[in-house]
Amino acid sequence: MQVLQVEGLTKNFGGLRAVDGVDLTVESGEILGLIGPNGAGKTTLFNLISGTIKPSAGKVTFLGENIFGLKPYTICRKGLVRTFQSCKIFPELTVFQNVILGAFFGTSEKKSWEQAALQTREILEFVGLAHLSDVPAANLTLLDQKQVEVARALATQPKLLMLDEMMAGLNPAEVEAAMTLVQKIRDQGITIIMIEHVMKAIMNICGRIVVLDHGKKVAEGSPKEISTNKKVIEIYLGE
């Protein structure tokens, strides 16, 4: 089943075409990697899908529904959530408060404090942050802050989770832990798209990879195909 379908998606910023006629489909239960040189338009593509900015042209269909032009909060409640490259947690709030906001507002359900708190505690256990529950998010390390952002996203009970450079700044051991978490999330039935530059993660956990350059899709395939693709090596991977 197709969770997400993107057709001819385009975004112009004045004279600059940041995303140029991108087509993309995402199947249920897969982990899709989105890679490309810096400035290729990957985050802009995320922004278009999640409603952060409005596309100049094209079509976005999520779970069979047209979500073009909808506000971010509406799209989130339909089951599509994303994290940010710059890690946008609520620094003054505690870890628990960060996540429970996702539980309260991320779905169309009305929840009581007990229900939302229970879900929050479960998610914190799942992600491994239960011991930091009452710590103000600003006091955490970068790795933990990123995990808070993921936990908060999970609290919105998404069907599709879009991760934007979750592994940047992590050392290899931390990358391993993050990879395990992503796979755990997928095993819960959540489809995932990840923008990443950490090749270890992309090659090992993604079933399929899409490559963007100058706003256009230039390659698509399995990790093996992509890692041996001449064009991809030339523009992105290096020798």
Partner: protein, 234 residues
Amino acid sequence: MLEVKNLNVFYGNVQVLWDVSLDVKEGEIVVLVGANGAGKTTLLNTITGIIQPASGSVTFLGKDITGLPPNEIVEMGISYLPEGGRLFPDMSIQENLEMGSFLKKSWKVRKERQEQVFEFFPRLQERRKQLAKTLSGGERQMLAMGRCLMSGPKLCFFDELSYGLAPKLVKESFQMLQMLRDNGLTIFLIEQNVNQSLEIADRAYVLENGRIVLQGTSEELKNNDHVRKAYLGI
């Protein structure tokens, strides 16, 4: 060139660095390895004058620079690329680079330096009039690195240089570091990309929970069991 002796640093009442000592010789590339939260950025901030240590000393080219304000430290020939770059979002690429040459000595030669930077990063030249806030994550890293070089430093600290950069750019950045070293720049790297940084480094230190727990040549550390398990993921 740089000598750090027994640095003890506190955030309020909490001690974050214990008795940290290290040194960087002229023409070397030295790497500091450590997990998130180990105190690497704190150490850099202390050396470059942003934080005051409780005790210990920092000596550069024989002069005691402990606790000097950052602008004086830059004047002495130290440059610092902070984590995330810290660019001026509403200024153009060109303007950001010019800000790197703010001091009198550098201001005169800023045009030549700028050309050099554009040679390394052609993409920056393409977009030289664009505002920094409109750049992608990786482009910002490039710009930050370029700005760092604009003050013509003798010693440069790079904090998470490879953060958010495409693999090709990471390789090129590390190659460029080697070239810069061959041109006389001494380099101190903080890096999560331990693999590639150990390839180009001469020596390395490992910082854990605010203490230096290991040091040696990059060869020694590459073969060290603890480093391999904890940081190289082998």
